[in-house]
């Protein structure tokens, strides 16, 4: 067993454990943290596949940004676990059917005699000096520039919509325009008056 294989098995074991804990952990914050662990190990596996850009982007976007906001929400909510667990047995048949179906589909695609992974041609080894970051950038900004820009515009619309939904002026807020604050000068607020000290009566 080479060192690479050892790392692969280690990462896979951690990934499966973390993914299982995401759905079995009782505390939602622990579940979210296990999801973070799962993302990090998945990124490690991707880097082993020489997809270093995707691996780092997974950590940067999902772990660095999305999961932080996720944790914010989960930590601030008062989640009633008992209520969430209600009706577990009545939903179980539906859930189990869907899960089994997915496993069967994946098994068909990955291991079956028709589409097995062995049939797919092995990708040629990357030449020296090949950078998949550069290659992805070239593809995104030349061949797929319109779909890419469309996706960007859709995201922008989503941002504007989200801000428009949550932006509200508070009625009794004490908001002060920072521009006005910066403009304040001492003379506007403070007046020094000459006030002679009391004289001793003689």
């Amino acid at each position: 067993m080479t060192f690479q294989q050892l790392i692969f098995w280690f990462f896979s074991a951690v990934l499966i454990f973390a993914a299982l804990r995401v759905i079995t952990a009782r505390n939602p914050v622990h579940a979210a943290l296990f999801l973070v662990l799962a993302f990090c190990t998945a990124a490690g596996l991707w880097i082993q596949l020489e997809a270093e850009f995707l691996g780092i982007a997974l950590v940067l976007v999902y772990v660095g940004a999305v999961m932080v906001l996720f944790l914010f929400v989960v930590m601030m909510l008062d989640i009633n676990i008992e209520k969430l667990r209600e009706g577990f047995w009545s939903y179980l048949p539906v859930g189990a059917t869907v899960a089994l179906l997915m496993v069967a589909e994946m098994a068909l695609v990955l291991t079956g005699p028709w589409f097995g992974l062995e049939d797919a041609p092995r990708p040629p080894a990357a030449p020296a000096g090949y950078s998949n970051t550069k290659e992805l950038g070239r593809l995104l900004y030349t061949d797929y520039v319109y779909p890419f820009e469309l996706a960007a515009v859709i995201l922008l619309v989503a941002i504007v919509a989200a801000i428009a939904l949550t932006l509200r002026r508070r009625k009794h807020g004490k908001y002060i325009n920072p521009g006005d604050q910066v403009q304040v000068r001492r003379n506007d607020r403070l007046k020094i008056i000459s006030m002679p000290a009391e004289k001793k009566g003689d």
């Binding site: 973070v36 950590v59 940067l60 772990v63 660095g64 932080v68 906001l69 944790l71 914010f72």
Partner: protein, 355 residues
């Protein structure tokens, strides 16, 4: 010489050799770094002392040698923190409570893997180095969030939300500054970024000049990112309390270690991306003065790190809403505009920084 010395352990360890050798190299980076962190705390107190016309720590010394006065101060501080009791709050999550400082320190150290100290001295010369750095610096926020939550205290929790929001906000401005750097250097590899700044003009060939708004944005965002004054609302004892109120002893010290190593990391990155890394500020034609080397990088890191201390001694603390305003309404628009300007500029013959 080195190869013949290494041949024996290589034969002895066999397949384990790459692991051991990498660990040795990691230790060679982390151990001096920790020493630098310790003496940065001393330099901070000394420098701020000089700025306020006093001497700073000058008593604690090794073996009673007078002229070494003050030099043992960081060691004494470390020992003191090491033997203090670690108090774990009642009802807190013990595992996460102890894990949080480690999570704060870990990414700040992991980022050093891709730092080029000189043209040959890099632990891992990876292609997507800049992306890796962004990923690592974005992981530091977990230590803060988990610390606040695991403390089982409302004050710590609210403080952690505040600090985390601040860090996540400033990360965007930092990321956009790095976009400018990678546009100008045409590479994500940090060694390539330094090499792209090499030309006959010496210091004027570095990226601080064409990317000046991004340079300033990056530096100030870096101060905010490492929770340093004037953005240190986490430690603002006068108004609010931060995410580490429940921490004591060594667990608190690890948070401090994380803060100082993040500071050194930001200084290093600023030096590498905007101030020419290991390059000499003088033109290459000047002979010995013009040759690059680790010494120049160290001098630049020292300069930028001293600026962090200078800021602390000079500026009053920002109010929280003004911190957020500065990040979102000033820095992000500035960087966005400068990226567009840069893109246009690079298409014209007026762009002289890249051949």
């Amino acid at each position: 010489m080195l190869d013949s010395l290494l041949a024996y352990p290589q034969a002895l360890l066999g397949p384990l050799w790459p692991v051991v050798w990498t660990l040795v190299k990691i230790m060679l980076i982390v151990a001096p770094l920790m020493l630098c962190v310790a003496y940065l705390t001393l330099w901070e107190r000394k420098l701020i002392g000089y700025m306020q016309i006093r001497k700073g720590p000058n008593r604690v010394t090794f073996f009673g040698i007078r002229w070494l006065g003050g030099w043992a101060q960081p060691i004494a501080d470390g020992l003191k923190l090491l033997v203090k009791e670690v108090i774990i709050p009642a009802g807190s999550n013990k595992f996460l409570f102890v894990l949080a400082p480690v999570l704060a320190l870990g990414p700040a150290l992991a980022a050093w893997a891709v730092i080029p100290f000189s043209p040959e001295l890099i632990l891992s010369n990876i292609d997507a180095g800049l992306l890796y750095l962004m990923a690592m610096t974005s992981l530091g926020v977990y230590g803060i969030i988990i610390a606040g939550w695991a403390s089982n205290s409302k004050y710590a929790f609210l403080g952690s939300l505040r600090s985390a929001a601040q860090i996540v906000s400033y990360e965007i401005a930092m990321g956009f500054s790095l976009v400018g750097v990678l546009m100008a250097a045409q590479s994500l590899n940090l060694a390539e970024i330094v090499k792209a700044q090499q030309n006959s003009a010496g210091a004027f060939g570095w990226f601080w000049l064409p990317l000046f708004p991004l340079f300033i944005t990056y530096l100030i965002s870096g101060v905010a990112e490492s929770n340093r004054a004037p953005f240190d609302v986490a430690e603002g004892e006068s108004e609010i309390v931060g995410f580490h109120v429940e921490y004591s002893g060594m667990t608190f010290a690890v948070f401090s270690l994380a803060e100082y190593s993040a500071m050194i990391l930001i200084s290093t990155l600023t030096s590498i991306m905007f101030l020419g890394g290991w390059l000499s500020p003088f033109p290459v034609s000047w002979g010995l003065l013009g040759t690059g080397g680790f010494g120049w990088l160290f001098a630049k890191i020292f300069f930028v790190a001293s600026m962090f201390l200078w800021f602390r001694a000079t500026f009053p603390r920002y109010r929280y809403d003004q911190i957020m305003r500065l990040g979102w309404k000033v820095f992000i628009p500035v960087t966005l505009v400068w990226i567009v300007v840069l893109g246009a500029w690079m298409q014209t013959p007026l762009w002289i920084w890249w051949k």
